[in-house]
């Protein structure tokens, strides 16, 4: 099937709403019944990674076959059938999410190990340690790829999570191709791609990466983890494996140098985690008086030293990314995640959608952003960058709590990757993924089940 490609299927119109509409149709009553009873019986069983995965995959396969044979989809295109399959995956997995995501102790342990390792290594790793040629080094633009990857915890559906990985990979791939064209280098291949993906992942350090990958592997519809999606996903698995096993040799470092780096990274992290706790508690105060200092002078001076050294890496330090990750996690837990974003009307706009009348609103939003940003920066003890910053530095100054930030990034993405259409389509698609608690399935269904015909 040609439409097995995630990139093309993601452009299917109204995937999610279409699914819900169809399920509301009277003739879909048996489907609704089957879905509900599957979810109920699944939740009644004790967790078991392999069995869970097999049960879900089998259910998806059976249901898709039944959809195909049902009059509700008579004369439907492959694309429409495709989209209902996506809808089913999203509905079922959102319902099962808390039960199956990171529910195995070994997954949780791997998450912690991986996260800690990345938190330490990101302090000292250089592109050279991974064989990234100078021509292809572009840390500023790699931030875009990091941001794509960090979104992975904002979604519950396997496909949406996978799309975050694919977007990250696409950004890197396009940056590499552009760099090779600009420098007259050979077309980049995996020799260039994999090292950058490793570097970007370490710097992004998305929480629960291992669980996310296992979850996608187990619950993404298997018929759709193929072709380019499968390739990029395999790269992500290989990134995980590389990072888990990183040692001095893997980074071409001297054994003692590596240990020394790890030690000082540990020291730095323990200092910063103290200060970031204080920071969250003190958020409110900073809003009103940016000069108020609740941090102990010891951690404060540590911060100053750290940030003073390298202004441009502000948001790569663990305190900032930890805060951001924390925020993203909290968002995910909130039932009203979509409510939060509703207050930011431009979040999913593209340049062409805007009118002159929007400028005032945008400007106001911008001013609020700047004010909050400056307050937060003060609060963290970082020097406030001057407004004459280059665009590149501005991108660095993203702050964790602003859900509206992606809008700005989108604009940058267009400039830097030339990948506007594709990536922004994903983003719009992805934005649909917030699940209403109850989807309004008809409840009049009785016991009985769909017999999936094949």
């Amino acid at each position: 099937m040609e439409n097995s490609d995630v990139f093309s299927s993601s452009t299917a119109p109204l995937t999610w709403h279409d699914f819900l509409e169809r399920m509301r149709h009277p003739s879909a009553v048996d489907f609704v019944k089957a879905i509900k009873s599957f979810i109920v019986s699944f939740l009644n069983n004790a967790p078991d990674a392999e069995r869970d995965s097999a049960a879900v995959q089998e259910f998806f396969g059976n249901m898709e076959a039944a959809f195909r044979a049902h009059s509700l989809w008579a004369g439907s295109s492959e694309e429409e059938l495709e989209s209902v399959g996506e809808g089913l995956e999203k509905y079922v997995m959102t319902k099962l999410f808390t039960r199956v995501f990171a529910s195995m102790p070994e997954d949780v342990k791997a998450d912690e190990q991986l996260h800690e390792k990345m938190a330490l290594i990101q302090q000292f790793i250089r592109p050279e340690n991974l064989d990234i040629k100078l021509t292809f080094q572009n840390e500023t633009s790699w931030l875009l790829a990091q941001k794509e990857l960090q979104k992975i915890n904002m979604y519950k559906a396997p496909r949406d999570k996978l799309v975050c990985i694919l977007n990250c990979c696409k950004v890197i791939s396009n940056l590499l191709i552009n760099a090779s064209l600009a420098s007259n280098e050979d077309h980049p291949g995996a020799d260039e791609f994999l090292p950058v993906l490793i570097y970007v992942t370490i710097k992004a350090n998305p929480p629960q990466l291992h669980s996310n990958l296992s979850y996608i592997q187990r619950f993404r519809r298997q018929t759709h983890l193929v072709a380019e999606a499968a390739y990029f996903f395999t790269n992500m698995l290989s990134v995980e494996s590389f990072i888990m096993n990183i040692d001095a040799k893997a980074l071409s470092m001297d054994e003692t140098e590596f240990e020394k780096n790890m030690e000082s990274a540990r020291a730095l992290l323990s200092g910063l985690s103290k200060s970031s706790d204080t920071q969250t508690q003190a958020d409110q105060k900073f809003e009103h008086d940016p000069n108020v200092s609740v941090e102990s002078s010891e951690t404060k001076s540590k911060n100053d030293e750290q940030y003073g050294k390298n202004q441009s890496s502000i948001n790569k330090t663990p305190s900032i990314s930890d805060l951001e990750n924390k925020g993203a996690n909290m968002l995910l837990k909130e039932n009203e995640a979509s409510q939060v974003f509703r207050d930011f009307p431009f979040l999913y706009s593209q340049a062409g959608d805007l009118t002159v009348g929007d400028v005032e609103d945008l400007l106001n939003n911008y001013k609020q952003l700047v004010f909050k940003y400056v307050s937060l920066t003060k609060g963290l003890g970082v020097k406030i960058p001057s407004p004459s910053l280059s665009k590149a530095q501005c991108q660095n100054s993203e702050q964790p709590e602003f859900a509206k930030e992606p809008e700005m990034r989108e604009a940058h993405l267009t400039d830097n990757t030339g990948n506007y259409g594709e990536v922004s389509v994903f983003r719009l698609e992805n934005s649909e993924s917030k699940m209403p608690e109850e989807v309004g399935f008809q409840s009049q269904c009785e016991e009985g089940n769909v017999s999936p015909e094949r």
């Binding site: 040609e2 991974l130 064989d131 696409k170 890197i172 791939s173 396009n174 590499l176 191709i177 090779s180 064209l181 007259n184 280098e185 050979d186 077309h187 980049p188 291949g189 995996a190 020799d191 260039e192 791609f193 994999l194 090292p195 072709a227 380019e228 390739y231 990029f232 395999t234 790269n235 698995l237 290989s238 494996s241 590389f242 096993n245 040799k249 893997a250 980074l251 071409s252």
Partner: protein, 204 residues
Amino acid sequence: MGCSSSVPDRGTGRAGGINPDSGGVIDAKNLRVKGELVLLGDSGVGKSCIVLRFVRGQFDPTSKVTVGASFLSQTVALQDSTTVKFEIWDTAGQERYAALAPLYYRGAAVAVVVYDITSPESFSKAQYWVKELQKHGSPDIVMALVGNKADLQEKREVPVQDGIDYAEKNGMFFIETSAKTADNINQLFEVGLEKLNLIKRLWT
């Protein structure tokens, strides 16, 4: 440099097997074969150039092509109206990433192991990959050994015969290519295609 030129394949390498102009439209009812081809070899031997040459050298306007940094796919129509969708998975060749390769070649139908005829080290590395594939790859994987940069005759350090001998000993197809001049690039993929096709026929 070599492969980054957008000059189309001058067609020297094209022989009977692949027929990009056949019929134009790919009939959905025709047999379709999907081949996952994995590229292995030291960094700098020109793995990505070879596939780029191949993909760019195909002129069939109906074929769907994906050209990324490390993933390429190309649908090719064969003369018997079979279409083959090639998915080409590139792997990182640097030593530090060697342990990750099995993740990539696990499901591959074809493995193309590339070395640089001007670099004996890359030839030993190629032999390492062949051994790894024999140990961990699928038992019916089709393997090809490719000596690239054949245009650099004056710098040659790996004799053609060495490549031929090693390939023969290990039941591999052998060819020397030049991604720069496009020599033999199509032959390489044709053989891969034909072998795949043959396997497929045996199955069905």
